[in-house]
Structure formats: structure tokens, C-alpha cells
Symmetry: C2
């Protein structure tokens, strides 16, 4: 709001003088990129001063776009969850459902190994789950793998939630950040559901 009133869109940059609107946009992008990094490293404990420092801007620049830390955290969380929703939709389009499910869980686990914000936000993202029909997508993948004879007939979405939620909690508690370990437990957990 402040930016757009200071810099009305019809005003062209004056020659020889920096384009303040382009500067502001670049700063905003830097803040967002830094926020993605810092939230990934430290989860919701990350602070605006840390993010500003990483972006190489002042705190005021951050607050100009995001009045509170919660606004920035929400924007970053939405960005990460959008990735996850796309990744799940891509899995649903693959022909071999077991492989699709395994690769999906491996990729998600790898992201969880690197992203504390995702770890903290995902268990509470009920509305996002509903809006993106995460249960529906998971159940479709499970049903397809069962038709293809590659998953136990009694496997459920709840099984995946318990097994994946389970090793994730332990790996987080042990502060394991090695993506290979996370991918290994994703693979093992899907093996658990082989017929």
C-alpha cells in the first residue's frame, strides 16, 4: 500500500535516477527468498531481524511488505504448501501408483529434512489439506496401487499418516537432517505396505 501510493504505476523512471519501484520489488524478492531460507533453517523461531540481515535490508523494509512476522511466515508457508500440493498432483498423474507414492514420500521427506517451517506447519495445515483434497489424492493413489497389486489390500491413508508421521517425529527429535536418511525411512515405510 505504502509503496504503491509513493510510486504510482503511471510514473516512468526519470533518466539518471534509480527506479525506486524496481528497487522496492527487488528488495521484496530478496526478503522473501531470505525468509524462505531462514524459516527453513529455524522454523517459526526465526525472527524478522534475522531475515532482514540475511536479505541485506533494514527491518523497516521487511515490515513495509509484511506488517508482522506472522504475515511473512504465512506467505512462506503458503509457498511451501503450494509446492507440496503440486508435487502430490504430479504423483496422481503417474501410471505406476506404487512408484508414484514412493517417489512422492521420498521427495516430501527430503523437503522435511531441510525445512523446519514445513515440519511445524504441515501437521496444523487442516484447511490447506481440505482445500487441496490431500486425503482424496492420497486415497486415489492407494486405490490405484491396490488395483495394480502393488499395495496391501488393507492399506489406508491413515497407515501412511501413522508411518510417515512416525519416523518424521523421531528423526526431528533426533535432529537428523541427512536427506538420505529421510528418503530411506520413506522407502521402508512404503515397503511395509507391500502385499
Amino acid at each position: 500500500m505504502i509503496m504503491s501510493s509513493e510510486l504510482p504505476p503511471e510514473e516512468p523512471p526519470a533518466a539518471g535516477r534509480p527506479d525506486r519501484r524496481a528497487d522496492a520489488r527487488r528488495n521484496q524478492e530478496r526478503v522473501f527468498t531470505a525468509a524462505v531460507e531462514v524459516f527453513a533453517e529455524r522454523g517459526l523461531e526465526a525472527t524478522v531481524p534475522e531475515i532482514a540481515a540475511r536479505a541485506g535490508v533494514g527491518k523497516a523494509t521487511v515490515y513495509r511488505s509484511y506488517p508482522a512476522k506472522a504475515d511473512l511466515a504465512e506467505a512462506v508457508a503458503r509457498h511451501r504448501l503450494a509446492w507440496l500440493a503440486e508435487r502430490m498432483a504430479a504423483a496422481a498423474r503417474q501410471p505406476d501408483a506404487f512408484t508414484a507414492l514412493r517417489d512422492l514420500l521420498c521427495d516430501v521427506s527430503e523437503q522435511l529434512s531441510k525445512d523446519r517451517l514445513l515440519v511445524e506447519v504441515l501437521p496444523r495445515a487442516r484447511r490447506w489439506e481440505e482445500e487441496n483434497d490431500i486425503s482424496g489424492l492420497t486415497e486415489k493413489l492407494i486405490a490405484a496401487a491396490q488395483r495394480q497389486g502393488t499395495l496391501r489390500p488393507d492399506a489406508t491413508a491413515q497407515d501412511i499418516r501413522v508411518l510417515v508421521g512416525g519416523y518424521s517425529r523421531v528423526l526431528i527429535a533426533l535432529d537428523v537432517r541427512d536427506p538420505a536418511q529421510w528418503r530411506r525411512y520413506a522407502t521402508l515405510s512404503l515397503n511395509a505396505l507391500r502385499p
Copy 2:
């Protein structure tokens, strides 16, 4: 202490008058049995008044044998861990190591489904683990199953800790107390480690 000075062992019960020593012993047994039940239901939140009420005795009777709740909790925890150590030793003596491991995990999981105290105490029972060589026993079972070709060559005791610790945490968080569910995830987790 109080009991033994009140009731010296050489004194026989007087005819027509209740044997106070036998009464005290019966009360102690009742308190212990009640404590096992109440700690199983409520974990370390259980209180001495609750335990006394379940045993049908006064609080003073509990405190006579156990000066503080922590003493009673420790006695009960030791009793439950002794069961677990015996159960593990029995598994190590079975000829089919995979079946032994699976049945062991199923039985332990069933106990965890019923016993909040065990759930709360087990992750912190480092000294008990060392004294009973729990790691050694687990590794022996794993090595035997690998020799018998029934477990992945790269399976480790850590895998069992991550997978079993994992579903246990989720089932506890969801307050699942159905033993069949717990046994199911024990079986699935061992299936995960099949070659």
C-alpha cells in the same frame, strides 16, 4: 520400617485378634496392584489419593510403604521394565529370529497401548537399557534374522527404534488404545525390514 518395629517377626498372632502383620502385607499388595493399574491408566499424572482410593486404603497406608509418589512410581516402573527385559530375553531364545522379533514387537506394542507409565518411562530408561543390554539383545536378534535371510542386510537396531518409536508417538498423540492397531503397526514395521 514402622511396620517391622510395630510388629516384630517373633510375635505370633494372638488368638481371636487379627494378624496385623498379615493385614499390613495384604494392604501393601493391594496398594501395589492398584498403583500398577492407576499408573497404567494415567501415567505419571496419577496421584497417591487416586491409588489409595483404588486400593481401598487410606493415603497414610500408601505413604507408610512409599514415602513419596516417586517411590511408588519407581517401584511400578521397575516391575514393568522387568517384564519387558524378560520378554526380550525370551525372544532371544526362539529359533526363528524374524518371528521372535515380530512377536516381541507386537507384545511390547500391546503393552504400550495399555500402559501410559511404560510409554512415559521407556524413552528415559537409559540405565535400565544398559543394565539389561537391550541394544545387545536387539542386535543379536537382527543379526540372527539376517543370517536366516528374513531381514534386510542393511537393517539396524536404529531402524527398529525409528519405526517403532515413530508409530508409537503417533498412536499416543491420537490416543489410540486399541491393542489390535498397535499390533498391526508393529507387524507392518517389521515387514518394512523384510529383504
